[in-house]
Subunit: 158 residues, 2 copies
DNA sequence: TAGCTGACTTTCTTCAAGAAAGCTAGACCC
DNA sequence: GGGTCTAGCTTTCTTGAAGAAAGTCAGCTA
């Protein structure tokens, strides 16, 4: 557990993972969204890549220096940890505004779940593939989570 | 979620909570077990009490200056977060030794669960009351988790 | 009354976070 | 084809927190 916390226990690491799950894997996008210092973000990304939770992937136009960070299977498996934090926060921390709420939705049955790793509506196991997060501060509609390497499947290969 | 991570995201906070769940709520015991600096432990404990996850409770002999930290209902509800970290770590991080493994057990049916907040054997919801952790480095047998205020129930009253 | 112990608090040093600027390589523009 | 733009870092500097070690204090113990 201590070893797990070395990777996941850092506040920024979890927030970076959150952004990647939201499909927000580009350096600038994360920096702007999280308000984190460049050097810290660079360090956290390198650590998460080093720990095998993220991989780098060139995106958009041809071989330019533009990279996007995407989840590996190992990173995707951290979803219950993030869900558990979201559910605990929703239950116990007062939201600073109506917009600040965030929900975990199972796309299979559409239910809002109160479990970190299974749907309390239908019991199905939650994965990044069948889960959406709904954050009012972000978009009006729920966001399907990013899975390991969107588009082309690389997944556990790395 | 960011607010939740302000409290739970700190590596030491999670480890302190782990110790309290293990029934190890005394200052010296935690310091010895975690190898954390006194000043840092004192700060973390104060923060967790301030956030309402722990309360202080005198223990043993009469009104001496000896305190023990015990969970509140709010702190107890953080169990799924810790479970999720344990399960992820067990799945994805190599254990440095045979002894380093840790399991989450449901005492109701005795099954080892692979879900953070329900028993994968019987489906029952996991609470501190019906959950044991089994850490080989600690004891040979699984340890029933500490619940909100052992002995006298205070719980949500604070 | 002279320790001893548990639970801190203080002090000091070192390391990491935060802010701000600089660097680089390809894209775009005219 | 020279200038500008932009994404994705890297460097530098300052400030704040972590870590180590010693000090404090109240009550028990002998």
């Amino acid at each position: 557990m201590a070893r797990g916390l070395d990777i996941l226990g850092d506040p920024w690491s979890m927030l970076v993972l959150r952004e990647v799950f939201f499909g927000n894997g580009r350096f600038e996008a994360m920096r702007d969204r999280l308000g984190v210092a460049d050097s810290v973000l660079a360090g956290r990304l390198a650590a998460l890549v080093g720990s095998g939770l993220l991989t780098r992937q060139p995106y958009g136009d041809s071989g330019r220096s533009r990279q996007e960070y995407v989840l590996t299977a190992k990173g995707e498996d951290a979803l219950p940890v993030l869900n558990a934090v979201v559910l605990w926060s929703e239950k116990h921390l007062p939201a600073p505004s109506e917009q600040a709420h965030m929900f975990v939705l199972h796309r299979g049955c559409g239910a809002r779940t109160s479990s970190a790793d299974s749907c309390t509506g239908c019991g199905e196991r939650l994965t990044a593939e069948n889960t959406s997060w709904h954050s009012l501060t972000r978009t009006a509609d729920p966001v399907p989570l990013a899975t390991a390497c969107p588009g082309k499947q690389i997944g556990t290969a790395a």
